[in-house]
């Protein structure tokens, strides 16, 4: 491995400037759990790594937003998020998802900003946060707020521009919403998922008033399934609606890999969307 620059700027703006060089081999480095794997296997050889840890004091806080939601600094570690009392109250699905996300050593080091920016469709936090209607705030020359579901352009691709860094995740109020993330592995239990399904359902009595259905891992990128949501919205929570939503979700384009064929993953999508909705609402059996 050839040598590379390792820079430690004190602010995200400085970091952005150091990264906006037009060099694709210059990358930000937060927890490093994804990047180091790529470097060790020779998939990625950096020319410059811009370490964001010096900005941690400013960008790792998890704070209430005043409108019932929360703001998570991009440098917050996954463990910090997992154990944060505010987030545990607001969206317990996050802490539950963490228990099957990598392992405690990885969660202690990985940062939420890097987790979202990595663009790997097999990760657990992006679908979970997308189902929770979260957005990311970016820093850099043109700061913007982007829904998590709109962050991804393709396999390991995001819409982030060179030098554009995620500075925070905004989580809206979850009152009335019920959320579940289901991870389906087809080899060892600790494998990358063959399919990730995250659903959120807003209920008024037994009527579904709003929903989010997010598919990941089986698809090229995280995918929000509007067709399944359309089936759910306005329907009565129950097996019929959930089965129909699962059927609608099967329209997503799944991809074949060592974890299963595209056809098999499509089967899993139908079953897991239905089961996630059953678990989220407690309706329609389990």
């Amino acid at each position: 491995m050839r040598g590379f620059e390792f820079l430690r700027p004190g602010t995200l703006n400085e970091a952005s400037a150091l990264l906006a060089t037009g060099d694709a081999a210059a990358r930000p480095f937060a927890g490093g759990t994804g990047l180091m794997l790529m470097m060790k296997t020779g998939v990625f050889s950096p020319s410059r790594l811009v370490c964001l840890r010096q900005t941690e004091a400013e960008h790792r806080a998890i704070t209430p937003t005043g409108d019932g939601g929360a703001r998570i600094g991009a440098l917050a570690s996954l463990s910090q998020i997992e154990h944060d009392p505010l987030l545990c109250r607001l969206a317990p699905v996050i802490a539950r998802t963490m228990t099957t996300l990598a392992n405690v050593r990885v969660r202690n080091v990985a940062r939420i900003g890097g987790t979202l920016a990595h663009g790997d469709p097999h990760m657990d936090m992006p679908p979970t946060l997308a189902a929770l209607r979260a957005s990311v705030v970016t820093s850099g020359t043109a700061s913007r707020t982007v829904p998590v579901e709109a962050l991804y352009a393709g396999y390991y691709e995001t819409i982030l521009q060179p030098g554009e860094l995620i500075s925070a995740v905004l989580l809206p109020d979850q009152t009335g919403w019920h959320s579940v993330y289901l991870k389906c592995t087809t080899r060892s239990a600790d494998d990358w998922p063959a399919l990730g399904v995250a659903v959120s359902v807003r209920m008024d009595g037994t009527t579904i008033t709003d929903s989010r259905v997010i598919i990941s891992a089986a698809t090229e990128k995280l995918t929000r399934v509007a067709a399944a949501e359309a089936v759910l919205n306005g329907a009565t929570a129950g097996l019929a609606a959930f089965t129909a939503a699962g059927e609608a979700a099967r329209a997503v384009e799944t991809i074949e890999d060592a974890r299963g064929s595209a056809a098999y993953k499509t089967e899993l999508v139908g079953v897991y969307v239905r089961r996630a909705l059953q678990q989220a609402t407690g309706a329609g059996g389990n």
Binding site: M1, R187, S188, A189, D191, A258, A263, E267, L268
Partner: protein, 763 residues
């Protein structure tokens, strides 16, 4: 420090904690990866990118010019040192670095040496090779008749008599065509009430020791010291000496602890390369493989097994025909021995009068395959126990009763004609059925979850004939040290052997020192493989201890002490020497009796010194919507003779079963035109804690191996035997789906469920 003889009883059969536990958990245990030597260079390999091709050129100039690179060698450089740089235990088919052509994707073609391993790694990437691609063959059955020929000429090593007829043969990929014939199978099939025929497949998988392979060679004046993570230091010594045309005493091989072996670190792997590189560079050279590189080094045979049985109206198997094709990959390694030594047990532990076996070792353009925890037996049991369940089902007989009716009993001839002794086959079956409460009704699940249960039983003959030697040094203070070349790779051999010394000499096992393999110091041992150490080395250690005891008795008589004196050992020495001085050296060597099988028939009246028997009982649940299988209960029942250390035996059983569980349910080397596409632990998954069955029981049946040390025999592989077929049989019991190829993935289960309904998965 006082070693008192009278408190020493019952060292065997006691749960002595592993002698090395404290060293290991405190990070003090010595491993080859931790060794650095003054002036040492790090080696990194450049590997073939094509599965089969003639090498047109290898351009190493850019690599050689990279600052920090000490040297770059190719096969041609090696030839300036060694004229015929080919090695291997069965065939001399593996070049130290490729010469003329490459045989698989990942074959080493050049090595870079540098003081900085990162410089060496970068330089290795700068080497450019050009190939003329040749037709390649990847499937073991196709290799029987393919136009693609992996090796132009077969070069048997000369060590094994049954390979001699292959010397110089060309235009073939068959590296051994083993056959066994007993009785008249044709007549029996013609007369049969029922005939069943099936074909089963296993996939290529890897040993995945968590300590990747590593070797260091330190050159001296016409001599070499090799530090290596090897299961067979004696073989490394012999083979390096042969390659260099040296005496064995010019090569010293030292082996510390291993972080797992499972057959991956057998015979000779990286040692020839570091030895040649060190002699060329005149500097110590270390090669540490990455986890990824292990996928290109040694694997477990993929296989195809065609099995046909005749069953009469009483449910007795009257004939069985076995045809097995072993996918050996590019180099034979020990594949031909797997083909024969496992091949002769391929009809299973059944009493069948008419048997025919054809077992073929095949070269293909895949990464090489060798021995992996079972020496081929798990592939065979997978097939014959799946088949046996289908026979019982086919004639409408209970699966346990059908087996009980057909299993080999004490004194009956196995397929080779060797009479069975001390093999607790029936006892293992009965214990498994009892633990499963087999005759009681079984909860079969409801809704989308369906439950099933099944058993499977297999056996293995330990590889024969093999030799072990041991030295016991009894010091004047009464303490003992054991010198042996058995490698403790995590299986607990140091502890078990110390228990044998202690039991024999009347010492405390925890205080026996075990000196690790060093071919300048420790005597010859064939290798640590195939569950042979407890029996062979155990017998040698016992003989060495008895030899020491005999000398101690003579010393006692010499100083005038009566027979059976209660004098402590150190007092006997004190009486003889007048001070704490002197020592007693006990030596022991063991090679069991053996009769070579007859050529053609494969028959022998003594084909092995002992049999291992293992069964698995499985209860599982199938999610009929996704095909996911949950193992609710796995029962591993084994005949290990008399366990020397029951606690370690239990961990060997659970470890072996878990390893086989991974091979059964998901482990699989994905290959694309010979290229492994999942060569990393991120993409090749092995079982973890969360994959454990909900309940797992490890049970030892009462038995005594009469020719074993204190009644003991091997244990490391036994619990691998039954796992795969028991799970497949239980899946059929649950949902009616019969799977004939490993791994038993959720997708294959779901496809089977849909096929039963006449549906296909879309797409």
């Amino acid at each position: 420090m006082n070693e008192i003889r009278s408190i020493s009883a019952k060292q065997v059969g006691r749960d002595v904690p592993r002698l090395e536990s404290r060293q290991k958990v405190t990070g003090r245990a010595e491993y080859t990866h931790n060794i650095t030597l003054p002036g040492m260079l790090y080696a990194k390999l450049c590997r073939s990118t094509v599965a089969h091709g003639r090498i047109l050129s290898i351009d190493v100039s850019a690599a050689r010019d990279l600052p920090g690179v000490h040297a770059v060698y190719t096969g041609e450089t090696i030839r300036t040192l060694i004229a015929e740089p080919y090695f291997g235990p069965a065939f001399h088919d593996q070049p130290i670095l490729a010469i003329g052509k490459v045989h698989f994707v990942g074959e080493p073609i050049a090595v870079v040496l540098a003081a900085d391993p990162y410089v060496a790694a970068e330089a290795a990437q700068m080497i450019v090779a050009e190939y003329e691609e040749l037709p390649a063959v990847f499937d073991e059955v196709e290799a029987m008749t393919s136009a693609a020929i992996v090796h132009e000429t077969l070069k048997p090593a000369g060590t094994f008599a049954d390979l001699k007829h292959l010397s110089g043969k060309s235009n073939t990929n068959v590296a051994l065509d083993y056959q066994l014939r007993r009785g008249d199978t044709d007549a029996a099939f013609a007369a049969a009430e029922h005939v069943f025929e099936h074909e089963f497949h296993t996939q290529q998988v890897m040993h995945t020791p968590l300590e990747p392979m590593v070797s260091i060679a330190e050159p001296g004046d016409n001599c070499l010291t090799i530090y290596t993570a090897s299961q067979s230091p004696s073989f490394v010594c012999t083979e390096i000496a042969r390659l260099f045309g040296w005496r064995e005493n010019q090569v010293r091989v030292k082996v510390p602890y291993l972080g797992g072996g499972f057959g991956a670190k057998l015979y000779i792997k990286l040692e020839a390369l570091v030895a040649a590189a060190a002699m060329l560079a005149r500097r110590p050279v270390k090669l540490s493989l990455t986890m990824e590189e292990q996928f290109y080094t040694i694997t477990k045979h993929a296989s195809t097994f065609r099995i046909k049985s005749a069953v009469n109206k009483d449910g007795r198997i009257t004939a069985r025909r076995c045809e097995i094709f072993w996918n050996g990959g590019a180099f034979a390694d020990i594949g031909p021995r797997v083909t024969q030594k496992s091949g002769f047990t391929s009809p299973g532990p059944y009493d069948i009068d008419n048997v025919s076996v054809d077992s073929y070792a095949l070269y293909t353009n895949r990464p090489p395959a060798g021995a992996l925890r079972g020496f081929g037996i798990p592939q065979l049991v997978w097939a014959y126990e799946s088949h046996t369940d289908l026979l019982a089902r086919g004639i409408g007989m209970d699966a346990v009763e059908f087996r009980r009716r057909n299993l080999l009993r004490e004194g009956r001839p196995q397929a080779t004609g060797t009479l069975m002794h001390d093999a607790a086959i029936i006892e293992v079956l009965d214990k498994t059925a009892e633990l499963m409460n087999w005759t009681a009704p079984f909860e079969r699940g409801e809704g989308v979850i369906r439950r099933g249960r099944a058993i499977a039983i297999g056996f293995k003959a330990v590889v024969a004939p093999t030799t072990s030697g041991a030295i016991v040094n009894l010091s004047a203070d009464g303490s003992a040290a054991l010198y042996m070349s058995t490698v403790d790779m995590g299986q607990g051999s140091d502890t078990a052997m110390a228990q044998i010394v202690a039991e024999t000499l009347g010492l405390v096992a925890e205080r026996v020192k075990v000196v690790h393999p060093d071919t300048d110091v420790t005597p010859y041992d064939m290798a640590t493989l195939g569950s042979r150490s407890t029996f062979h080395m155990g017998n040698a250690v016992k003989l060495a201890s008895l030899h020491a005891l005999e000398q101690l008795g003579a010393m006692a008589r010499e100083v005038g002490l009566p027979e059976g004196t209660n004098y402590e050992i150190r007092d006997i020495f004190l009486k003889k020497y007048g001070m704490q001085a002197g020592n007693i050296i006990g030596v022991g060597s063991y090679v069991p009796p053996y009769t070579s099988p007859q050529k053609g028939t494969g028959l022998s009246d003594n084909v092995t010194p002992f049999w291992m028997v293992g069964a698995a009982g499985v209860e599982l649940s199938v999610d009929t919507e996704t095909g996911h299988v949950t193992i609710d209960r796995l029962i591993n029942v084994a005949d290990v003779g008399r366990p020397l250390n029951p606690a370690i035996v239990a961990t060997q059983l659970s470890g072996a079963a878990m390893m086989q569980l991974g091979f059964t349910l998901f482990e699989n080397m994905d290959l694309d035109h010979g290229q492994v596409t999942n060569a990393s632990l991120a993409d090749y998954k092995i079982p973890g804690m969360h994959d454990l069955p909900t309940v797992m029981d490890n049970v030892i049946v009462d038995n005594n191996q009469q020719n074993g040390p204190y009644g003991a025999k091997g244990v490391g592989e036994t619990a691998t035997f039954g796992v795969s077929p028991a799970i497949a049989n239980a899946i059929e019991d649950a949902v009616g789906v019969r799977l004939t190829s490993l791994p038993l993935t959720p997708e294959s289960v779901l496809r089977g469920i849909r096929a039963l309904r006449g549906e296909k998965l879309e797409g």
